[in-house]
């Protein structure tokens, strides 16, 4: 079994014959970590996966966002990032006329949207015009650290499906770390607890099995 190496900012990363990709900088042909995180090697590449890092907008990411401000033709959206994103009225399924945006999405509303464009200075634009994208009507929103999103989803969605099934909730995980959960209050709380455990213990072996046991126990108590 391969051992994952933990690195801190400034630690040298042994790249071997792999191609260094994310989370490293070069100095005199050597590579050093920019994060406190884990070294991840694939067939070709080597990356540093940080334990925590701010979400940076990437085109085609499906995210959950919160409406922060309403302009004449655009909404400003908090995407759990240092950077706000924009949603233009023409990028919605509705026929919105200028100055009338608040009728469709108000401040505080959440949306499940896709980042259609982003640029090198981290400006980004959203769209609601794709399958499954929508305004999120009922339910609760929580956030997890953006780098933990893949673990919350699990391989082929196995972790999040397990949580959904065992807690009887509906869940949408945004790639930016905002997560929407809907269901009965107790069930939602159970799902939140479960997701928080996955976030905290994302690096522990056999997490899926442990989570399965945990959720079964939780169910027994209710």
């Amino acid at each position: 079994m391969e051992t994952k190496q933990i690195v801190y900012p400034g630690d040298r990363v042994d790249v071997d014959d792999l191609k260094p990709r994310n989370g490293m900088y070069e100095n005199n042909s050597e590579y050093f970590s920019e994060y406190f995180g884990v070294v991840q090697k694939s067939e070709k590449f080597i990356d540093i996966a940080p334990f925590n890092s701010p979400y940076l907008p990437r085109a085609n990411d499906k995210i959950i966002g919160k409406i922060m401000d309403i302009g004449a033709t655009m909404w400003t959206v908090d995407i759990n990032s240092p950077y706000y994103s924009l949603l233009h009225m023409n990028d919605t399924p509705w026929h919105v006329s200028s100055g009338d945006l608040g009728r469709y999405l108000n401040i505080g509303d959440y949306i499940y949207a896709k980042i259609s464009v982003s640029n090198e200075i981290k400006e980004s634009w959203l769209t609601l015009r794709d399958n499954g994208l929508k305004k999120l009507e009922v339910g609760r929103i929580i956030s997890v650290k953006p780098p933990k999103v893949p673990r919350v989803i699990g391989k082929g969605g196995n972790m999040i499906n397990l949580i959904k099934n065992e807690t009887d909730t509906r869940v949408i995980v945004g790639q930016n770390g905002f997560i929407w959960i809907d269901g009965d209050v107790d069930n939602v709380n159970n799902a939140i607890t479960a997701i928080k455990i996955v976030e905290k213990e994302a690096h522990i072996i056999g997490l899926t099995d442990r989570m399965s046991e945990y959720l079964k126990k939780l169910k027994g108590e209710n």
């Binding site: 400034g10 334990f51 981290k122 780098p147 905290k200 690096h203």
Partner: protein
């Protein structure tokens, strides 16, 4: 300051019983300010300091740098943190410290990875007992790493100085008040580059060399404490 306090005892120890090159105990904990993107709390001797980091678009918009982040560290003292009550708000001393701490952090943060952003580092000194700027910077560096802000290296701070005619590591309050010199320094542990250096007092060039070499020897130990603090929050088990 004139004083007759004898800072080094006859058996070569300091008033608090430490050897000349002995540090006070240091403890660091991360994740102490839940609302922040990253945070860390340090107890360094009797110093108690919290640092919290927020990363956000710089505001107002005209204050943004289109190609890199702005760093702003703010060093602030609680009213009860020192002997005489400290009036809330900045003064000349705290503003200078904010500036040198900001610059030290700026030298290691990968600014171009966060264009238009501002990295706000709020430092609150709850209890002060000599060496707060260095303890602040050491804990701020952990908070920045905890926030996942990209950094080329950590920043590790330390002080040395001259007291009772001897070069000593990590000055106590008495040594700071009544000693001959105080030299706070911070370095990037990988390259050993100095990112903060101040000197206040009177030392020979040989004594300065002795002080810096003492600090360089102490850096790896402080660095280790920073790493353990980051690690402990994650229950990380190796060999996944």
């Amino acid at each position: 300051m004139e004083s007759n306090i004898k800072l080094i005892t006859d058996d070569g120890l300091r008033l608090d019983g430490r050897a000349l090159n002995e540090m006070r105990p240091i403890k660091i904990q991360t994740g102490v300010v839940e609302k922040a993107d990253g945070s860390a709390y340090i107890e360094w001797g009797a110093n108690k300091i919290i640092a919290a980091v927020y990363v956000r678009e710089a505001y107002p918009k005209h204050a943004q740098n289109i190609d890199r982040a702005i760093v702003k560290a703010r060093y602030n003292m609680s009213g009860y943190s020192v002997e005489e009550r400290k009036r809330p708000g900045p003064d000349r001393r705290t503003m200078e410290i904010s500036k040198v701490v900001t610059e030290a952090l700026e030298s290691t943060i990968v600014l171009e990875k966060l264009p238009r952003a501002e990295v706000d580092v709020f430092i609150q000194v709850l209890e002060a007992d000599a060496g707060t700027r260095i303890a602040s910077l050491t804990t701020a560096s952990v908070a920045v790493a905890d926030a996942g802000v990209p950094m080329r290296d950590m920043v590790v701070g330390c002080t040395a100085g001259k007291a009772g005619g001897k070069i000593v590591l990590d000055l106590s309050k008495d040594e700071d008040n009544f000693g001959e010199a105080d030299i706070p320094m911070a370095i990037l542990p990988r390259t050993k580059k100095i990112v903060l250096l101040q000197l206040d007092g009177n030392v020979s060039q040989e004594e300065f060399d002795e002080a810096t070499s003492m600090m360089m020897n102490a850096i790896p130990r402080i660095s280790e404490i920073q790493r353990n603090a980051l690690m402990s929050k994650y229950n990380v088990e190796e060999g996944e």
